[in-house]
Every structure is written in structure tokens, then in C-alpha cells.
Symmetry: C2
């Protein structure tokens, strides 16, 4: 077999170790530190294993898992853009495309294309698998926030209407999960974890 | 749909957040801290995406990914047993079985059985998918150690024969990857990252 191919793959694996140092705004439930994007990606994979049954359309679970594993790799260069950060959102697409070009191209060309395509598919939300994967990516932080008594929401003064607005595309992946999320948002306002809608 | 089912699934997802606090002996390549078992599980998933082509037998990638996502969950109760810790290995199976009984049974019965079965399959290494998944689980720490200049090996005074002995079942999953690992072990002794065989 081709050892140059293997070396490129290993170099990529070593490079993506850096995702373990990309901090998100979400706190671990035990509250001792922020979550990083690598462990978040793992957690979404476990969520997909359990909740694929709630997808609006039948999904290929292996394909969903592939997308979830790679969906945040661009953050190694581009950083995690907090989903309520309107300023950071402006050049996010451009920063992430540059990151994708550098990181995925460490791989042999066929695998670079395959992973780039998985990442694009996730971002575009045009397939059933991507809509479902993207729904999980929005709902997990909502669970983290709700069951962590809204620590990250409170820290950033987030309102219920912002949470609804930023996350409602989750319903395109799963009506069932989104209706559960809506009830958590209502309860979060009652509990004082989230500010009421403006 | 059944909201009790959904609540059990959410409770499980919140519980497994704790895997992000289970420390392994391996260091991140940037060397600033130990790796945790959740981000390790993610990293193995990415490795599987790229290296399934080196499995001795054709494998169902989605099934490999499912096993890798859940293979370390028992560590939430049982802790990570360092693979060169002969003392810890004695009651490892018993500690892990107790952990599996508690953790997987937070889920609705059908999913508890399914995840328990994935974990058992991984441990037993009787399917092609399990042999390959277990090979990755052994090889990734070897990459981490080698490219991190042997920091964890040196800290624990590990010898080359121990690394060969503990990890050689990886060849049952991938002869190709194991032969690459053998060459890294030889180079690690030359570089002084590993102690020579006794």
C-alpha cells in the first residue's frame, strides 16, 4: 500500500487534535469549564444514535455520524462563532471556507473532497441527513443551557426570542425535537434562565 | 410520540456529559493537558472515517462509528484503566460491567440493549467491525505518544516490549496499520521515547 497516503492521513489526524482546544460558550453540566468542540462533536454523535428515530424523514445514520464528526473541524482555524454573535457571523462563511481549504487539503485528494463535501452538505442543510444533523447541533446546546440553569444564556443576556430565531431551523430536521425545545424555552423564561422575548 | 421515552434519552445524554471529565494518560499533542475520553472517542471516529480502507476485512463504517462512540462510556463509573496498569486490569471487567448495567439502563429498554450490545461487541472483538474499532483504539494513543515525543510512555517508564504485547491484537483489525505501528515502536526506542525491550 501507499505510505505517502498513510502519512497524509496521519498528518491530518495530528492536526485535528487541535479541535480539543477550541472552546465553545457552553459549559459542561458539571459546570467546571467550557465545553470544547471535539467533545461536543462526540456528544452529538451519541445523540444521533439515540434520536435518529425523531428525524422528519428517514436518515442514513452512518452518513449523519460522518457529518457530525467533521462539522466543526473548520473551527481549528476559524474559531467557534457563538450563535448569538451577529458581528462574528458577518465574515464567518469566508473564514470557515479558508479553514476548510487548508485543513481538508492535508488529506489525500479523494478524502479531502469527501470530507469537504460532508462539511458543505452539513452547512447547506439540503439533504435529510444534513437537516437532522444540524438540528442536533442546535438542540444539544439548548439542553446544556436549560439543564445547566441557563449559565451561558445568562452570562450573555440572551432572550427567548433570540433562541427561537437562531434555532428554529431545527424543526426542518425534527418537528418532534423542536416542539420539545419550544417547551424548554418557555420553561427557561419561567425559571429565569432566559430573558423574556422583547 | 412517547415523552417518557424522550425523557429517558435526555437523561442519558446529560449523564454521559461526564465522559468529558474522565482523564486518560495520553497528552494532547499541544501538550497542555491530558486528553479526556469523550474527545478521544471523537478522534477515533475521524480516524475510522479515513482508515476503514486499511481494515483486514470489509467493514460497515456506520457500525464501527456506533461502537467507537459508546466504547468508553463505562469509564464514567469505572474510570480509565491505563493499558499498562496490571493491577487495575484485574477487576476492570467487573467494574466495567457494573458501570454498563447502570449507565445503559438509563435508556428505554430497546436502546439500553442496543448500546450494551455495541459495547460488548467492541470488547469481544469477534466481528470484523469490532476488531477494526479496537485496533484504532490501540493505535491512536500510540500515534499520540510517538508524535508527542513519548511523554506518557516516559512518565510511566514504559518499555517497547510492553507496547508490542499490549497492542498487538491491533493486527487482527489491520495488518497494514499494525506494521506501521511496529515501525513507530522501533523508531521510538531509537529516539529514546520508549525504553528498550527487557
Amino acid at each position: 500500500m501507499d505510505s505517502e497516503r498513510m502519512e497524509q492521513q496521519v498528518r491530518f489526524l495530528l492536526e485535528v487534535d487541535k479541535l480539543k482546544n477550541v472552546e465553545r460558550r457552553t459549559y459542561l453540566l458539571e459546570g467546571n469549564r467550557h465545553e470544547n468542540s471535539a467533545e461536543h462533536s462526540w456528544h452529538l454523535g451519541v445523540m444521533a444514535l439515540l434520536m435518529a428515530e425523531y428525524a422528519n424523514e428517514p436518515v442514513d445514520l452512518g452518513h449523519v455520524l460522518g457529518m457530525l464528526l467533521v462539522h466543526d473541524l473548520v473551527e481549528i482555524d476559524a474559531g467557534d462563532t457563538f450563535c448569538y454573535d451577529a458581528e462574528g457571523a458577518k465574515d464567518r462563511a469566508e473564514r470557515e471556507q479558508r479553514a476548510a481549504d487548508r485543513i481538508f487539503n492535508l488529506l489525500p485528494p479523494d478524502q479531502a473532497s469527501r470530507l469537504m463535501e460532508l462539511w458543505r452538505e452539513f452547512e447547506a442543510r439540503e439533504s435529510a441527513e444534513a437537516r437532522f444533523a444540524a438540528a442536533l447541533d442546535r438542540l444539544m446546546p439548548l439542553f446544556h443551557n436549560f439543564y445547566g440553569k441557563g449559565s451561558s444564556w445568562q452570562e450573555h443576556g440572551i432572550r427567548a426570542d433570540q433562541v427561537r430565531e437562531r434555532n428554529r431551523h431545527a424543526r426542518e430536521g425534527s418537528e418532534f425535537l423542536w416542539s420539545h425545545a419550544e417547551s424548554l424555552i418557555t420553561r427557561a423564561v419561567e425559571e429565569g434562565y432566559l430573558q423574556p422575548p422583547r
